[in-house]
Structure formats: C-alpha cells, structure tokens
Amino acid sequence: MMRPILLLAVLALPLSAMASSFAGSSAGSASGASSAGSSSSGDDKIVIDARDDAAAFVASDGAIRGARLEAALLHLREQSVAQQQASDMVLARTLLAR
C-alpha cells in the first residue's frame, strides 16, 4: 500500500519557520513542497497545487479534504466523462501519480 510512503512524503516537508509579516526582497519564500520545474500554467497548475491536499486525503483515508483537492476534482470531472464516474479516492491517486 502507498500510505506509509505518502505519510513520509507529507512529513518530509520542510519545517523551518520565519516571521511571516516580514518579506525578503523576493516577497516571501517559495514553498519547498509543490514540485517545481514542470510547466505550471493553466490546467496543470490546478493539479500541481492540489498535490499536497491529495496526499493528505489519501493518507488520511479521506478524512482530510482540502479545498485545493476539491477544486482539482471539479476540474478533472469537467474535463472528461470517464473521470466523472471515478471515485474521489481514485481521482486523488491519479492526481498524485501525474
């Protein structure tokens, strides 16, 4: 099963903290969590933004449902008929596999 691996992935997020009403010259730091590199425009962006939420959803057996996952599910179901039939859990896993 994927769960322990996912748990590790979620726990591996950087834990450092900085005073947040203060910005460096770069207007805040970028998150280390979302995967960078690939194109982050349009459709992909919604999916990439939802990864952390999807990981938490799968790892918690559906208990944690974040809004970004919700937005991505809506988006995926708008896109194709096949995905309208799939369950939330299946879609969340698909989302992580992308």
Binding site: R3, P4, S21, A27, I64, G66
Partner: protein
Amino acid sequence: MRPSGQVRRWRWAVLVAWLAAPWAHAALTLELQPQGLDPAQIVAAERTLQQVRGRLPPQWQARFQHPVQVRWSDTLPAHVHGRARNGAITLQRALLDTVKDDQPLPRPLEAALIHELTHVLDRSPQGGWSRDARLRDLAGWQRRPWKLGRTANAFSGRSPDDYERARPAEFLAVNAEHLLLDPDYACRRPAVAAWFAEHLGPIDHTVACDSRLPLMQAEEDAGAASLLELDPARIYAVDYLLAEGNEQLMSRWGHSMLRLVICAPGRPRGPACRMDLSHHRVLSYRAFVGDVQISSWRGLTGSYPSRLFVLPLNQVINEYTQLELRGLSSVPLALDGQDIAGLLERVAQVHWSYDGRYLFVSNNCAVETGKLLQEGVPRLASPGLNRITPRGLLTRLERQGVADASVLADRAQATRQGYYFASAADHYQQLFVVVPSGSCRWARQR
C-alpha cells in the same frame, strides 16, 4: 380646482426663482489689476483670465460670491508662481512673458491661476473642502489607531507634484489643476475625481478609462514577479484572510491579509468562483526587509518600509500551513460590486504610491489592512477600523456586520470549501491517529 392649482404652481415657480436668484447672479468675475503691466502683457493677462474662467465648470463658477482681483507682481520668490490672500490673487508677472499670441496658453500660467482660485474657493465661507475627512483619507493623511489624529502623508511614489503632500489645502489645489487641465485625470485618480464631482460639481470631459488595474505580483518561483492586469469585474468577493499566530515574537498575534476571490477567465461572477483557487490573489502588507536578520529594534522604530504585496493564494497557503505550520481562516466580507471596485482602486494606489513605515504596534499589518478597507470602502470609515491586532480587526468587522465568520463553524466543511486551510501540523496529528491501524492492515495483507 383648476385655477387654484395653477396659482399654486405659479407660487412654486416664483419661490424657486427667488431661491435660485442669488446663485444665478453669483458667478465668477475676475478683475484684472493692470498696474505695472505693459500693453502686450495686459492683452496676455486678459486672455489668460478669460480662458481659465472658461475652464472652470459652471457649478464651480457659481460658488464664487465675490469678484476676485488678479494682480501681477515681480516680488514673489522665484519658485512661487502665485499667492492667494484675502480673496485676491497675486501671480508672478514673468509668467505673462511666456504667452505667445498664436499658441495655447502655457500650462504653468493656467495651472497657477486655477491653483489660486481653488484656494480662494476653499477659504470662502461656503468652502472648507480641504477639511473633509474623506479627502484626507484619499490624499493619504491616514487615521492613526486609538483616534490619535492622522499620520504624515506617505503617498510619495508617482506623485505628479510633490507639493500636494504639503497640506490638505495644497492637495485640493494641486489636484484641481490636474483635474481641469488633464483630460485623463479621472483615469489616473478616479476616487479623487469622483470626490471633486460630488463636492464641487461635475466635470464634463469624459475619457474612456481602462478598468483593469496593473499590479506587480510575486510569482511562485522565488524572486520572480509579473504584471497582473486585474479587472475588478472579475472579482467575485473579498475575504479577510487571517493567519493564526505562533510562538515567534513577530507573528504571535497572527497576520491579517485580504484574499481576492477572482473568477477564472470565462466564468461569470458567482459562488463557483470560490473554487478557482489558482486564480485567487492575496494582498498582504509586509515589512520590506533587505537584511538577513530581522531586528526588533528597527521594527519598533520604523526602519522597515511597509509595502503592499500581491501574492498567489496557493503560495500563501503553502507558506503558512507548511513552512510555518499556521492555519489560515478566510472570512467573507459583505461587499458589493461597487465596494470591490473602490477597494481595488485604492489597492492600486497604495501599491504604487505608498511608502509607509512598518511599526510593530502602531502601523502593523492589521492597522494597514484596516486603513486599506476603510479608505477603499468609505462606508466602513465610521466608526472606523483602527485596530492593532489582526483578531481585533476581525472582531470589529464582525460587529459592523461586514464579516461573517459563521462559515468557519463546521471545520471539515470550511476546509472543503476553502474557508479554512489547516496547518500541516494538524494533518500530521490526524495522520498519526490513522497510521497505526493502517500499517497493521498493511502488515496483515502481506
């Protein structure tokens, strides 16, 4: 019945005519004082008075109760173009020598006369517009918390004439110059132009303005920025975004921000826009720190500039919930389309011209966000939103009936609908509860 009705109507007409009479008579008369002028200068001066009088809208002219004398002098200091004293105007005589017969009047000359005429009007018994609270809000003399008066004007960026920040009366006069001489003034400062129209009378030149507002937004890659051309018509709602506090000194009391619920291109304004999370933007006041380390002393004494940042919502969620382990609450504000347009216009002005100082206590994020809200949405200005903690500001908004925190009542639903973004620490906690059972099952299956 009929004759008596007619008489009554006549009586009304007479009454209205009698009431309107002083207004009809009171019109602007400019009296030229020709002492010390040569014939060519007299011609130029008369042309100036006539032309500038024509620039003033009829309602402005009707406000002058007395004729205004215009003198020309060589004794004014070199950097002063004109002065208004006791309802009379003195202008620099050298300005007349710049007038050419076959060319339009030089702008400094027209501007100087409009400027001084505005002073005369403002100081007349019917005047006093420069004392108007809304004008001071718009101009940038901002209210301090605890009703401690107003701050100095920190809206120094991109001012057409820095003299406007000297005093509210000068702000009025300088802006009157630009209002009457620049056809696109209403596009550059729509809120001030609307204030003039409301208080002094409408201006008839209409220019089609671009409704989009340019804002520099931080990109998700560190250091990158891009220009966001934001159309207020695409904003469905504005939320008060509150980051919970943590143990750090600078963030103990939380952080207040505003979230713009922007609809995806092509989607009509409606509740569905709440799920267009990747298009939402966050307005956040932050101290602009160039150093590696933050100094508390410098924070207390105001050495850091306070700037209004525009950030993608996704970045803000990651930054707070994952890096800092702080939850975010997003509380909808009851603002209509017009409120939102006014607020956004203020946002653009603050974003480009404001150069304030960040102060831990008296000018922190909550104070700044409160000022932004009450300056952008005038109906929130009384009794005001001057609160020094982010939670205090939220409570104030709730009491005024502007914020509705009931969306947060059910935490799971709020998380799902994007009103609450839980700290990753909460998730870890939840996962620790789930995992033992999960790993047992995993072991059994193997």
